[in-house]
């Protein structure tokens, strides 16, 4: 037996992802990493391990996987239909995947990016210090049938059979946004309109960013098309030549010349990445002080994920070998 995850089938957007590779920004390589970093934190909490371990990210569609030896797994992010050897298993939960068992993961039921985490994490060879695929840079590639991904030693805690209640982020909503370097290129009336109207997520979107369709006219700045290229950070909302906004995500370019009307807070980026085509998104400007408070709250939310786990309550009708379970251990006469 080999400690690996075997890929038998994979949707077109299934990649290895982690927290990305910081340190190469000056060379034009953005950090990249999971589109929904909160999902990595949730997976880490479920398996009692670090959020820096690599997992499988599945855009829109999952795949079929097999464990080379007994593995603990967790499923987070956009809920997808999942089964182990044909028996439905819960999303946002940790499970035992025995050696040779088949894990089938279908299409998303809400949201865009689902995650499969392994106890011990994926242990593929790092490239430039990280394991995550950076498709825009040509680092790594979507997983193909037949791929065998090494899995690290599982030193996590918590066993399996735990579930968490995920922060809602799969159907659009309001994005909190900070003024950026270039917000002043836009007339105040335009920024007010930007805050007041609704946007629909376009079908065009990937790990680099998502396009939003305004409910009304496009947006135009005084800067036009001759702005000097300037630093881009994930979350920047760039207004392209035709007036439509793009929210830039983890795999974005590092510099760019389209004016940016603001920057979505890191805490709200999972909401952007997870919005399905057609989902409604709105923007609300916040101050830097408010942003610090919001991010601090998110930090403590993530730190507390592990203590909020609940045992997965299994429906006895779905346990085919119910009678083989020892159901009464620990029960005593009550006089101890």
């Amino acid at each position: 037996m080999t400690r690996e995850l075997i890929v038998h089938r994979a949707g077109p957007g299934v990649t290895v992802q982690d927290l990305g590779r910081p340190g190469y920004l000056a060379f034009g390589l953005s950090r990249g990493g999971a589109a929904d970093r909160l999902a990595l934190a949730e997976g880490a909490a479920l398996l009692g391990q670090g959020a820096d371990l690599a997992a499988v990210e599945m855009a829109g569609m999952g795949g079929e996987f097999e464990a080379g030896e007994d593995l603990r797994i967790a499923l987070t992010g956009a809920p997808m239909r999942a089964a182990i050897d044909g028996a439905r298993v819960a999303w946002n939960a940790s499970h035992f995947l025995p050696s040779g068992a088949r894990l089938s993961i279908g299409a998303v039921e809400a949201g865009s990016y689902g995650y499969l985490h392994l106890g011990g994490g994926l242990d593929c060879a790092p490239v430039l210090g990280a394991r995550g695929a950076h498709l825009a840079a040509g680092i790594g590639a979507p997983l193909e049938p037949g791929a065998r991904l090494p899995v690290g030693k599982d030193s996590g805690s918590g066993g399996t059979g735990m579930v968490l209640d995920p922060a809602p982020r799969f159907d659009g909503g309001t994005l909190r946004i900070l003024p950026s370097l270039q917000t002043d290129f836009f007339d105040p009336a335009e920024t007010r309109r930007f805050e007041s109207i609704a946007f629909r997520r376009d079908t065009r979107g990937n790990r680099m960013g998502v396009r939003l369709l305004p409910d009304g006219d496009g947006f135009h700045s005084s800067a036009g098309l001759s702005v000097l290229s300037e630093v881009i950070v994930p979350g920047d909302v760039q207004i392209t030549g035709d007036g439509t906004p793009y929210v830039l995500l983890s795999e974005c370019q590092t510099t760019g010349g389209y004016p940016r009307i603001g920057t979505v807070l890191p805490v709200d980026l999972p909401r952007v990445a997870q919005a399905q085509a057609g989902a409604t998104l709105r923007f609300r400007f916040v101050t830097l002080d408010e942003a610090v408070g919001i991010e601090r709250q998110e930090q403590s939310h993530r730190a507390g994920l592990r203590k909020d786990l609940q045992p997965l309550i299994r429906d006895p009708r779905r346990i085919p070998d119910l009678l083989s379970y020892q159901l009464v251990s620990g029960v005593t006469a009550g006089d101890d």
Partner: protein
């Protein structure tokens, strides 16, 4: 702290939630570019624990930090103090610079926007090729895509805005122009810049010990070659490009 109404340079502004940008101008100039490169180097050497990453753009130095560990005001004050240290516009260029000669097919079916660009610059296509290929351009920053240089500065007639619509795909190693600058794309990409040439120069080699080939301060001459030469250049090391140290 949001000093965006300030009109003097240099200027310290927040960039997103967890970054600061120190900008030395809003137009490209050689002193501002040198200042940005030198200032970023100084931030790196300062070794502030809370700083997680630094980079430069054409005229700015960027740093990312953890605002939950160190507040914005403190990092702002460090940057302001560092700015006072010296006249950054007078900083020298980085050391170890090289001159690269990169064989380039101008125009043809490989770079179909050459004529349009020449027209916008008020040149014939031939004169445009001559003007660009004889201009020694400098790597002002690496950015957008891995290993991708912004090169400048071209003469004023090349102050051409980006296109309103995007070109769906410029191939890897394509040479494009806008706003008195050239860019050479390391990966195929959609872009608002107009393509005028095609090279065989691989700028990003993730499998190599030197994944990023060009460095800020390097200079480049794009030397015209015939359309037919490109295939053989593609099998050569560096796509036929050669470099020498700049003394």
């Amino acid at each position: 702290m949001q000093t965006s109404t300030d009109t003097s340079w240099p200027r310290i502004r927040t960039a997103g939630f967890d970054g600061f940008l120190v900008s030395f101008g809003d137009r490209l100039s050689e002193p501002a570019n040198r200042a940005a490169l030198a200032f970023r180097d100084a931030v790196d050497r300062a070794g502030w624990d809370e700083v997680q990453e630094t980079s430069t753009s054409l005229v700015s130095a960027y740093l990312r930090f953890d605002p939950l560990a160190q507040d914005h005001a403190q990092v702002h004050s460090w940057l302001a103090a560092l700015l006072e240290d010296t006249d950054w516009y007078d900083a020298p260029l980085p050391e170890g610079r090289r001159l690269w000669r990169v064989p380039t097919v101008f125009g043809t079916d490989l770079a179909p926007q050459l004529e349009e660009v020449a027209d916008l610059a008020g040149h014939s296509p031939e004169a445009a090729i001559e003007a660009i290929s004889q201009t020694r351009v400098r790597v002002q920053t690496i950015g957008f895509a891995p290993g991708m240089p912004y090169l400048g500065e071209l003469g004023e007639e090349w102050d051409i805005p980006r296109q309103t619509g995007l070109t769906a795909r410029v191939p890897e190693a394509g040479l494009c122009v806008a706003i008195r600058q050239l860019v050479l794309f390391p990966v195929a990409t959609p872009t608002g810049w107009r393509q005028i040439g095609q090279t065989a120069f691989r700028l990003f080699r993730p499998e190599s010990d030197t994944p990023f080939v060009l460095r800020p301060g390097d200079e480049v001459l794009f030397q015209p070659v015939e359309r037919d030469a490109l295939d053989s250049l593609r099998v050569e090391a560096d796509g036929g490009a050669v470099s020498e140290a700049i003394e």
